[in-house]
């Protein structure tokens, strides 16, 4: 909006004061910028940009990882990826996880945040309990759930001993169930993060608004619906962004719980487990690099589209220069 205004009345307005000042940057200031941002840029280029470029390079070769790559195959690796049933399945699982993570975690987290935003007994204890799963390392969580949910694990033992034998299932290996088991674990694990974000967002909403609404006779639910939720919008949209990126790159929990191979059989494979399996485990480093490039492009496109269409109104001032 700010940008539009500027463009609309561009001719009459004086040029923004930032421009002339920038032209006059002194050597001391340039040195300062270089000293402060140099190390970060160097690290970023070495460990982010260069690997991406190298993956792009290796992706054109069939390469076992011993010696320099020599067998140039052009786009053949990419063609194989597109035709591979296992990759398509992984992509579907990723899509499902992206959508259902938002659908499951969003409403539950907003509800919990509303609850925890009210003054009540034991509030901090509940806050801690909800946040604990997020703090525990993925490997520990994965190992624990893998042990609990085994066919002969504790969950089924409990179900059998309280007479719910019919409910005892092969939670991990049954292809019809496994993806739901995964979503349940993901929700349990990451809901705390969403709740904390939303709580912080609610703290930023001025209390006067709720008070004014109360004076006008609004009920609690009306206040939440008309004031809290709309003002929480930016927080929810940022959380959605983080959740989508996390879901696209989901790896550790699946790899720990299902192991290297059973994930694709059980229907919980993701693009990254596919990448590790076909790249590293199979020793096909060229092919694996191509998969990494595809994964990078997919994540990049989704991130940019989300930025453009969903986050735009929140980041308008920050990204377009503005005032």
């Amino acid at each position: 909006m700010v940008a539009d205004q500027v463009r609309a009345g561009g001719g009459e307005q004086p040029p923004p004061p930032a421009r002339p000042r920038r032209r006059g940057i002194g050597w001391a200031q340039r040195l300062e910028i270089l000293a402060l941002s140099g190390p970060a840029i160097l690290v970023f280029c070495t460990f982010v940009i260069l690997p991406v470029l190298l993956a792009g390079y290796y992706g054109f070769y069939k390469w076992k990882g011993f010696g320099p790559p020599t067998n140039f195959v052009g786009l053949e690796n990419y063609r194989t990826i597109m035709q591979d049933q296992a990759f398509r399945e992984a992509l579907e699982h990723n899509g499902l996880i992206v959508v259902l993570s938002l659908v499951l975690q969003g409403p539950i987290a907003v509800g919990l945040a509303m609850l925890l935003n009210r003054k009540m007994r034991g509030r901090s204890v509940i806050r801690v309990l909800i946040f604990v799963p997020y703090v525990i390392a993925e490997v520990i969580v994965g190992t624990a759930w893998a042990l609990l949910l085994q066919t002969n694990g504790a969950v089924n033992d409990v179900l059998r001993s309280i007479g719910l034998t019919w409910l005892a299932q092969d939670w991990l290996a049954n292809p019809k169930l496994a993806i739901w088991t995964l979503l349940l674990i993901l929700t349990w694990k990451y809901i705390g993060f969403a709740v904390i974000l939303f709580l912080a967002g609610m703290q930023n909403i001025p209390e006067e608004l709720a008070e004014a609404a109360a004076v006008d006779g609004a009920s609690y639910w009306q206040t939440q619906r008309r004031i809290t939720l709309p003002l929480l919008g930016p927080t929810i949209r940022i959380w959605g962004f983080l959740s989508i990126i996390g879901a696209l790159q989901l790896f550790d929990l699946v790899y720990i719980i299902w192991g290297q191979y059973v994930a694709s059989t059980a229907g919980t494979s993701t693009m990254v487990t596919y990448l590790v399996n076909e790249g590293r485990n199979a020793g096909n480093y060229g092919y694996g690099s191509a998969v990494a490039v595809v994964l990078f492009i997919i994540s990049m496109v989704i991130a940019l589209v989300y930025q453009r269409f969903v986050l735009r109104r929140d980041t308008d001032g920050a990204l377009t220069g503005g005032r």
Binding site: K62, F66, Q150, Y261, A282, Y285, G288, S289
Partner: protein, 421 residues
């Protein structure tokens, strides 16, 4: 991930050029040795072996590095690519070794293996270290596979003799399942499941077919389909522990080795590293007292020899630029006394035939017996056919056992893998 790995390979390659390995120039020679035992008697064995060798050869200094088994392959690959490879290192053979040879990273030691070593080890075992008739590694230990079983549980279920044919095995499984002790299978790790397919293929396919497939990497001989169908028929009798798809092979009491160690399962199909793994998982971490071994039973109608054995051989290689003392050290670790020490340190069968006389455990003797009776020994098929095909076989067999795929799916998976590698 691959990108990071690729980066590290390049980064080190860029600065590794000036760091040439010392070549022998009459004076003191320093060599680096990488092995995979980080604790206990295995590590002690290497320390003693290196110390003894240095005493006998004062001009040679060997720097011993103990590297965690799971880390070894990755570190080694990076080191080899960067030109900073250790002079002597553990070699797992098969497709990986072939890739190292292709990248010109290994020393050709064909003419350096001494007559004594050849005599002590024998042609068949030495073959595991060869690519296209040239030697690039010497084996130190043989690790044939077969069934590891609990003699007590077999007796309790009324199985008096170890099964010698597939029918025997089926009958035994029926009795053992009735007693609540099925076959343990750690299919979460996939390779233990794939081993079942390999052994059926060993019986169904002739030696010539196995060797030809190593070159062509195409699985169009009908014996492969037959092996798959036999495995499917066997799996349909539900012989494995409940939840085998989410059972790991070696980690904890719930793993397949753990089930056997705690008498929850009666047997498992595994390589001869298994006694050590089982021992570490018993309640008192002592070897399982009633552990026994029998080879994979004969399967009627196949082209493979019913007594053929499958197994691997861990060996040691010299890097391309290692000094010539490296091969001398390789000959040294094949001598009888060192090999006896190796057996005691690792509880694993030594490759030196004289040292094999020192083996006392009845189950290891049973392995030796099967090994020496075998008309030929095949490498583990995933090692033989390389990581890429092995990986695809893992996926295909797990799908088959889970009821998701069929036999044609295994063959398809292998052919798909060829496009990726």
């Amino acid at each position: 991930m691959a990108a990071v790995l690729a980066l590290s390979a390049l980064g080190i390659a860029a600065c590794g050029g000036g760091d040439d390995d010392d070549s022998s120039s009459g004076g003191t020679v320093t060599m680096e040795l990488w092995q995979n035992s980080t604790t206990g008697p295995g590590k002690a064995f290497w320390e003693k072996t290196v110390a003894d060798y240095q005493n006998a050869h004062p001009n040679v200094k060997i720097k011993l590095s103990s590297i965690q088994n799971e880390d070894l392959d990755g570190k080694l690959q990076t080191a080899l690519n960067s030109g900073s490879a250790p002079d002597i290192f553990l070699q797992r053979g098969g497709g990986k070794m072939a890739a190292m040879v292709e990248a010109d990273q290994l020393k050709d030691i064909t003419d350096s293996i001494s007559a004594e070593s050849k005599q002590a080890v024998g042609e068949a075992a030495l073959k595991t270290g060869q690519v296209d008739g040239k030697a690039y590694a010497v084996p130190v230990s043989i690790l044939p596979g077969g069934f590891w079983y609990s003699q007590d549980l077999f007796k309790k279920a009324g199985v008096s003799t170890p099964p010698a044919t597939l029918d025997d095995l089926n009958a035994a499984v029926t009795k053992l399942k009735a007693a609540g002790t099925p076959i343990a299978l750690g299919a979460k790790d996939a390779w233990p499941a794939a081993h079942w397919f390999y052994f059926f293929a060993l019986r169904a396919c002739s030696q010539a077919t196995l060797d030809a497939t190593a070159k062509s990497k195409t699985f169009d001989d009908p014996c492969w389909t037959k092996a798959g169908e036999q495995l499917k028929a066997f799996a349909d009798t539900k012989p494995f522990n409940e939840g085998f798809l989410t059972t790991s092979a070696q980690q904890g009491a719930g793993s397949s080795a753990g089930l056997l160690a705690n008498h929850k399962a009666s047997m498992e199909l595994m390589g001869s590293w298994d006694p050590g793994v089982i021992a570490s998982l018993t309640k008192d971490t002592k070897p399982l007292p009633d552990l026994g071994f029998f080879p994979f039973p004969a399967v009627p109608g196949g082209q493979g020899d019913p007594a053929a054995v499958m197994g691997g051989a861990d060996g040691y290689s010299c890097a391309k630029d290692a000094p010539k003392e490296c091969t001398d050290f390789l000959n040294y670790i094949l001598t009888k006394d060192v090999q006896v020490g190796f057996y005691k340190g690792f509880n694993s069968l030594p490759v030196n035939k004289e040292a094999q006389a020192a083996v006392t455990e009845p189950y290891l003797k049973a392995v030796l017996d099967a090994y020496n009776k075998a008309p030929y020994v095949s490498q583990w098929l995933d090692t033989l056919y390389g990581q890429n095909v092995g990986n695809a076989l893992n996926v295909g067999v797990v799908n088959l056992l889970a009821g998701k795929g069929d036999v044609a799916g295994i063959i398809q998976a292998v052919n798909d893998a060829a496009k990726k590698g």
